[in-house]
């Protein structure tokens, strides 16, 4: 049960957005394969601390794959080698003795490196602020069962709503596009009858903000779908495009 391996980490170290950054090689001995990837980084940091060195900065919080706070490129792949899994859920037993593991931050024009592996993803919040909501003030909502919604529609909306906003899709995309992220929210709300009244305005405003934040265009590479820990489908992007075109033609929002 307590197998151990020795690995070599090549970790990106960067003091801040202004710094150029470099890879630091850290040999790590006796990694218990039961550890999660982040627990492995914890032990490295604990060791660095005892040596009086600066800890490797990385973001994380829930450590169960739901908050979307963690994420790095592991050997070039967002969230590492496992499908449908966040970095915090990846375990060291997926690696072998003697492996060299490269760990880098998300790389995208819209995500500045904050320090080492941590990046600034506030652009994703800005996209939501541009329209990723239904304008329903607190109070005065009609009875929840006043509006029946077919089960398949609710389930589809839920598939899209499962996005955790980690930014892996952006990191994986050759164009650093956030279309998968944006389309997931647009789809969830466009599918539901409550979301229809603002659907046109929403698609247009969210797309405009997406572009203004420096995210690239979608050229159908499907890399985003491949790394998404929540398996958000690119059919959502098709739906966003439909909503966008519909809105552009038929409305005065433009």
């Amino acid at each position: 049960m307590s197998d151990t391996i020795n690995i070599t980490l090549k970790v990106w170290r960067q003091k801040g957005p202004g710094d150029k950054g470099h890879f630091e090689t850290i040999p790590v001995k006796d990694v218990v394969t039961h550890m999660s990837f982040l627990e492995m980084l914890d032990t490295v940091n604990e060791q660095l601390a005892l040596e009086g060195k600066d800890a490797i900065a990385f973001d994380n919080d829930c450590r169960e794959g739901i908050c979307g706070m963690c994420g790095c490129l592991v050997n070039g792949i967002a969230h590492g080698p496992m499908k449908a899994m966040t970095l915090c859920q990846l375990h060291m037993r997926k690696f072998s003795n003697g492996d060299t593991i490269a760990v880098e931050p998300w790389r995208a024009r819209a995500f500045k490196v904050v320090k080492d592996l941590a990046v600034d993803r506030s652009a994703l919040d800005k996209i939501i602020q541009a329209g990723g909501y239904i304008s329903a003030n607190t109070g005065g909502a009609p009875d929840a069962n006043g509006l029946p919604i077919p089960m398949e529609i609710a389930e589809k909306a839920m598939d899209a709503a499962a996005c955790i906003g980690c930014g892996a899709c952006v990191a994986a995309c050759p164009n650093a596009s956030a279309m998968l992220f944006t389309s997931a929210k647009v789809s969830q709300l466009a599918l539901l009858p409550q979301g229809r009244p603002e659907a046109a305005k929403r698609a247009i405003n969210m797309m405009r903000t997406h572009d203004a934040c420096g995210f690239g265009n979608c050229s159908n590479e499907r890399e985003c779908e491949a790394v998404c820990p929540k398996e958000i489908k690119i059919t959502n992007i098709a739906r966003l495009n439909r909503e966008y075109i519909k809105a552009s033609i038929g409305s005065d929002v433009m």
């Binding site: 169960e64 739901i66 919040d125 607190t138 929840a144 069962n145 609710a154 906003g165 409550q194």
Partner: protein
């Protein structure tokens, strides 16, 4: 100190209606003169920020994470209760109220709990209006399930991600207000102190977690929505950044800490597998519906579970509680797991785990049925433990999960510091000595959406002439910043040999062993001594490398651990003082003849509210007697 609960007079069912009818209102045109500070963006904080901004107040909102959407509420799985009675199975506001107050073992206020049940239905309406994709039936109406042993189906859910969907709903409303400019959002900030001017909460000092800078923020009231302190046990189901810091800072400034010993230990978590472990993952309690709990009869038996013959397995819950069996309440299941492990029957690498065995269910219903019910949980287990639960029994062990205790608040959610309010898990208000499953989400959102918009008005009306009068250049901000800076300088200049984490881990062990599920006087006294020793060790031998003016996890952890070390002692003192078994915890000296938990209403039917008396000083106890006019106090029985 006289604790004024401010429960409105009149019949229980009319209190909230009457309160809303009688209260002072703030004129709509005047609302924009007020600035409210909201710390936290979980369900409570996001809901409050959005709702108050919609009313016209200016709101400044803070959170530790890089985005408000990542607050710990995101991790809640099971569901949210509401007295909608959609299934027509006999639910009502009264029944939800009664179940909650009885579930809390009669250690919460009737008035608060009734209000919670009353507004519960509005939460679901609000959520649907926001576009939360709750589970639905074929007819398109909302689906319900029964949760945590409730006899009615009143739990609404969105797959296993209810907390995520509710939080994203609140976050979307918050985002809308950020876009209008009514809310100014400050992520990656940690509250370091409360600023009090003329006896009123007037602002906060935060640390920018990227640059290390201290920032001053002034306002007309402060709302603390900073979540629970489950991480005082080190290993828990809580997220890494969950902390007691903000609450402790307010406690030091005069707010009272209520019932800190009321913590909930969840029975079905994936056990600890080594010293590197950072958190424990919760597995849905529903697993106990089909899994059978057992340990080897022989102590220290190291055989693989499948090699242990049926006759040598001890199904201790089924044996001890023939009528409830594996479905005994959370605390009973947790406690008994600890007993058998303490006695040497535990399994797994640390000897602190018990088996949860599905072989009988698989034989009876087939693997398909079991997979349909629990497939995702089994996958999660397989990924973490690397063992297939369809073939070998799962291992589980209890873990700290939720804090019922917290800052003392009155009916208006105001602490004893005027202008300081506490919402959500960080207050003590509604769950008494034990929280029912699916009720924390309900309380956080009730406080944020439907209670605070009303209950903050009388305070704001009372300070009308002073609205906006205190700004960041008031000397109190400079003074408080100086104190915060001194603390950090002290933390980073000790230069010893222990990391904050290593001391926190040691504290956790003391808390789990002596102040956890089952407590006794001698153990609690020992724990208090040990906590003091650890605190001394911390201040003598801490090592915090790296810079203060930087993204530095070691710095963040160091001051959080400092706060835990102070808070933990009060938690243990509270546990010592309350010499009764109650809610989630068993006091070993207070048991019935059959060895079950015995509550002592004649002596302990009160809220224990602790006043801070200084570093290394014993806090002072204030009692708020609990008065029950509408329900009869009964003892639980699960034999």
């Amino acid at each position: 100190m006289q604790l004024e609960s401010k429960i409105p007079a009149g019949p229980l069912t009319q209190k909230w209606t009457k309160y809303r009818g009688d209260q002072k209102l703030v004129n709509p045109a005047n609302k924009r003169k007020y600035t409210l500070i909201c710390v936290g963006t979980g369900l409570a904080g996001s809901a409050a920020s959005a709702s108050l901004a919609e009313l016209g107040y200016n709101v400044k909102t803070f959170c530790i994470q890089d985005s408000p959407r990542r607050a710990h509420s995101i991790a809640a799985q099971g569901g949210i209760n509401a007295a909608k009675n959609y299934p027509n199975d006999g639910d009502s506001i009264w029944r939800l109220f009664y179940d909650t107050i009885k579930g809390g073992d009669f250690r919460a206020r009737e008035g608060n709990v009734y209000r919670l049940a009353e507004v519960s239905a509005d939460i679901i309406d609000q959520g649907v209006a926001q576009g939360i994709p709750f589970a639905r039936d074929y007819g398109g109406l909302l689906a319900n399930r029964s949760f945590g042993g409730a006899q009615v189906s009143r739990t609404f859910y969105a797959r296993g991600q209810t907390g995520q969907q509710l939080l994203l709903g609140a976050y979307s409303s918050l985002s809308r207000q950020i876009a209008t400019g009514k809310v100014k959002m400050y992520p990656r900030r940690e509250m370091m102190d409360l600023v009090i001017v003329n006896g009123k909460a007037r602002g906060i000092i935060v640390r920018n977690l990227i640059t290390g800078e201290y920032e001053s923020h002034a306002g007309d009231a402060v709302l603390l929505c900073t979540g629970g302190y489950g991480n005082v046990f080190y290993l828990s189901t809580n997220a890494e950044s969950c902390n007691v810091g903000a609450a402790v800072k307010c406690w030091r400034k005069g707010a009272l800490m209520a019932n800190p010993c009321f913590t909930q230990i969840h029975p079905t978590c994936i056990p600890n597998s080594g010293d590197f472990q950072a958190k424990l993952t919760l597995m849905s309690e529903s697993l106990r519906n089909d899994g059978r709990v057992w340990v080897p009869k022989k102590k220290g038996d190291t055989r693989r579970p499948n090699d242990i013959p049926e006759s040598e397995r001890w199904y201790y819950l089924e044996e001890k509680y023939p009528s409830f069996g594996n479905l005994v309440p959370r605390d009973v299941a947790s406690r008994n797991a600890k007993y058998v492990c303490d006695a040497g029957h535990g399994v797994g690498p640390t000897g602190y785990a018990v088996y949860l065995d599905f072989s009988q269910a698989i034989q009876r219903d087939g693997k398909d049925v079991v997979q349909r019910k629990y497939g995702n949980l089994f996958d999660m287990y397989l990924n973490i433990v690397d063992d297939n639960p369809y073939e070998t029994p799962m291992m589980i062990y209890p873990a700290s999960h939720y804090a019922m205790g917290g800052l003392w608040v009155d009916y208006e959610l105001q602490t004893t510091i005027p202008g300081l309010f506490a919402l959500g898990e960080c207050n003590f208000s509604d769950h008494g000595a034990n929280r029912l499953g699916a009720s924390a989400l309900m309380q956080g959102l009730a406080d944020g959406y439907f209670v605070i918009p009303y209950t903050i008005a009388p305070y704001l009306a009372s300070i009308y002439g002073e609205a906006g009068s205190v700004t960041e250049d008031h000397p109190a901000f400079k003074e408080t910043t100086k104190q915060v800076d001194a603390l950090f300088k002290k933390l980073t200049s000790i230069n010893g040999t222990r990391t904050p984490d290593s001391i926190h881990r040691e504290l956790g062990k003391v808390m789990v062993d002596e102040v956890g599920m089952s407590r006794n006087e001698a153990g609690l006294k020992k724990a208090i001594d040990k906590i003091r020793e650890l605190r001394e060790e911390f201040w003598k031998n801490l090592r915090v490398p790296g810079s203060l003016n930087d993204y530095n996890k070691n710095v963040e952890k160091a001051h959080r651990v400092a706060d835990y070390l102070e808070f933990a002692e009060t938690l243990a003192i509270d546990a010592l003082e309350r010499a009764e078994s109650c809610g989630c915890h068993l006091r070993e000296e207070s048991q019935s003849e059959e060895g079950e938990a015995l509550r002592k209403d004649d002596k302990y039917c009160y809220v224990a509210a602790w006043e801070y008396k200084g570093f290394n000083q014993k806090p002072e106890l204030h009692k708020e007697p609990l008065v029950f006019e509408n329900v009869q106090l009964t003892q639980r029985s699960y034999k």
